[in-house]
Subunit: 197 residues, 2 copies
DNA sequence: TTGTAGCTTGAACAAATGTTCAAATCTAGT
DNA sequence: ACTAGATTTGAACATTTGTTCAAGCTACAA
């Protein structure tokens, strides 16, 4: 039976995400993808190449998701909120807290600078997406003129990374949703024009 | 020649910190510690036991450092600031950005729940240290009565994790010091009593 | 000097792991 | 049904890796 490439990448991503690059063994992948070693190597090259494919795919999906929420909301701030709420703060059962890109960068410190770069690029893309939305918000009068969209995007990344990292570091990650709301409240507090509704 | 236990643990920690638990091979440790396998096993048990020792030692050092800064400063907020500035935001050459505990928790997701717990406990200890200092600050009138020390401690952890995670995810980690100052500014903005100096 | 207790050495081992490839199997066009 | 090309299979291989242990070494008391 011919394998489903998209599905295989999805499954491989989940495994790499959960276990990390090093801890994921080819035999784990063979079982998860229900493919024999030869097929995997024929389809993806080798372990590193498959990991790279997963990273790039995850980054692209993230970027597409952000664009999706931007399309669904006339309010750019709301779009960022929805994106983060749905992508990063979903506290579903057995869900992985950490961002796949951030976790990979952390693990590939020191070694595999080559793979690391793909994850860094993916994160930068999302940050640029945030920046564009903050700029749009500024043009719509939702954000102060003095505020700096690039700086806000950076700040937003820090907040999300902190939130996910923290919720990952405590088993009791109950009120992450509340904390996200607090982050957006402090954003409004500091950067919304005084006279705005 | 008899080995220096404290020095060996220090060196092992640096290696585990840089490479991670999985990527650090016993042969790397043998070279770094300049000890033969038998000696390492006689002194520390095995790889996992050595890693555990490094984790516990790092956590203890962190906690001691926080107490040190608390002793040096009459202002508890300043103590927290100095601690973070010196422990987490040192942008020295070849310095590791991520916290060893956070990085370990991230890597040990899924597997090695046993080791993971030690890192979680270490982080919790630091958080409790923050909480005590925020409480002290509140008693000294440096923080609003309505503010919640435990919540502030949590918030602080999130900010530091976010900052370190971000600076780790971008090669250009130049203005991390500035960002830390911004974090403390927003802390004062939101939680300092209005009439305070 | 000699004995001994404890530490160190490094060769060796068994298991794990990434990868290969010849043979088997499947697919589609005639 | 037949064949050529593509895909899949899984046993096998070369390394890598965590760990062991008998033999060697060192320091010190008698």
């Amino acid at each position: 039976m011919k394998y489903d490439r998209a599905l295989a990448i999805e499954k491989a991503t989940q495994l790499f995400w959960k276990l990390g690059f090093q801890a994921t063994k080819m035999r784990d992948l063979q079982e998860e993808l229900d493919m024999r070693p030869g097929s995997i190597y024929a389809a993806f090259g080798n372990k590193e190449a498959l990991f790279k494919i997963c990273l790039l795919n995850y980054a692209e999906q993230s970027r597409l998701a952000l664009d999706k929420y931007a399309g669904l909301n006339s309010n750019p701030i709301r779009a960022i909120y929805d994106f983060i709420k749905n992508m990063a703060v979903k506290a579903e059962e057995g869900k992985i807290n950490n961002c796949f890109l951030v976790k990979s960068i952390s693990e590939l410190d020191g070694n595999n600078a080559h793979l690391r770069q793909y994850a860094q690029d993916g994160l930068k893309e999302v940050e640029l997406g945030f920046e564009a939305l903050f700029l749009e918000a500024q043009e719509k009068g939702l954000i102060k003129q003095e505020s700096n969209p690039a700086r806000l995007a950076k700040w937003m990344q820090i907040q999300v990374m902190g939130l996910r990292s923290y919720s990952n570091s405590q088993d009791n990650a109950s009120d992450v949703g509340i904390m996200l709301d607090e982050i957006f409240n402090s954003l409004k507090q500091a950067h919304q024009p005084a006279l705005s509704e």
